[in-house]
Amino acid sequence: MHIDPYVVVFDTVFWLVRFLFWVVPSDVWRTCLLLLPAAFVGVQKAYNMDASNLYFVIFYIFFWVVRINGCVRRGRQPLLRGPEWFFNVRVQPDFYRGAGRKILHRYWMRMFIPFAFDVPLAITIFLSGRFPLLSWLILGLCALIHINHSFSVDLAERQARPFAILEAEQPVASVALSLTPRRLRDYTNRNVELALALSPLVAFAWLVRYYFATPEHHNLRLVFGVPAFLLYVQLGILFIKRVVVAWRTSVPQAQAAEHMEAREETRKYYLQVCDWNRAVASAGILFWPIKISASPAGLSHLLSIWFAVWLVIGVVVTVWVEIRRKQLVTLALHARPVKLPDFLRQSEIARWPVCYQPSAPMLILKGARGYSLNLANKVTHLGAAYLIGLVALFVVLPVGR
């Protein structure tokens, strides 16, 4: 008898998790995680921990609480359209009793890949006591979770396609593309942009004054390093925002209105997220001169207020994100998924995660083995140049260390 080692591992983990959640319901798990910060306050007092370190730990625990919701949401995603669907693939009726079960379980297992990076790194950070590194770990994990999810969904759909209903797998004959011009300024709030532009100006003016008051006592990199890095990050997010606005794809002509509405709402959501992140960077730039001008006695109190405010904002934004995601799912369910014609035969020309296809002008091609980044695209060049600049700034400037 053949024993599949994957099935043994999955079933063991699956039943263990089920047992844990049967013994202690998920609400209790969440409450326990939420109570952890209170426990850390005790730890802080016992070990005389710095207030900012305590907040890094609280943010990290909060991030874990949010991830429980994320895991539940992603776990339900394949079946959102009902049992006859697996994500956007219309599957045969016995799919979930046969091969589909294994594909679904593998998808669930891949959701935990980020934890394999997170847990050892977090343990190392906690043991070393370098708690500010937790903020970088959170940022890295956010990117990893999204990239892992995109590739995982694409892989699961490709694995499910051989079990799809044949008629549903035929590409639609007719596609439509809106030629209505779309500009960055159509998605820009003038007051917000004014505030975002003014805050670095005010901060840098303050820092110049601070530096020239006693230049022999101040290190140029220490005074201007962090705001310069944050300004660069803000410009990077603006670049992403521009790419999101310009991103346009054709839709099936038969259901053009539904698909257009779902895409427009998704676009608005991502642009709002970009603006939120730009606002965070601007707030950081503005706070920096206040921080370095504060007296050592007042700094601890100031940092406590700063982190507490961000914790409250973090909770509010998380709730907003969850509400918006639910609205987007409702809209996406109105648009029936269809396969679009592949005019460029992308599966043949893009076989690896990266490719060089000057005749195919897209940034990302959907190849035979998942998404493939087109190195011939101008946005790829700009993105690569930006990332090199980001790493160089991180090395040169005293950021997060």
């Binding site: 007719s174 439509a176 809106s178 679009l340 002008p361």
Partner: protein, 126 residues
């Protein structure tokens, strides 16, 4: 303002793109002076080869419907500046009418179809 591509259509994709843009110009959706998306951008959006869109734009330029200006992209030019003769303009109409006659439609049916299409185009271009 949609541009459509149909894989069941016997016309090549570049021709469908060119005809689609011509229709938008005729209906007044793309007014005189309106900018067209750059060749690269439209190719990305439709997921087709760059040369396909370049060929469509070349045809539109040859027909005198768009002007390609270096630095500012392609813009719709005035329809009154079209320097094509009446014979050249009538040729596609003649081809279309031949198709309809060969399809077995009666003259009255063809006339009513032409009148309906003309009124749609005329109404939208005003």
């Amino acid at each position: 303002m949609f541009l459509t591509i149909d894989t069941n259509d016997p016309r090549p994709i570049y021709q469908q793109v060119a005809d689609g843009i011509k229709e938008l110009i005729a209906r007044g959706k793309l007014a005189e002076g309106a900018s067209l998306p750059p060749v690269r951008q439209l190719a990305v959006d439709l997921g087709v080869n760059l040369n396909t869109i370049a060929a469509a734009y070349r045809e539109l330029q040859k027909d005198g419907l768009i002007g390609i200006r270096h630095g500012s992209g392609s813009v719709v030019v005035s329809r009154t500046t079209t320097e094509r003769g009446q014979d050249e303009l009538l040729r596609p109409l003649r081809t279309a009418l031949t198709e309809l006659v060969l399809a077995g439609l009666s003259s009255s049916k063809i006339l009513s179809m032409v009148a309906r299409e003309l009124s749609t185009v005329g109404k939208e271009s005003k």
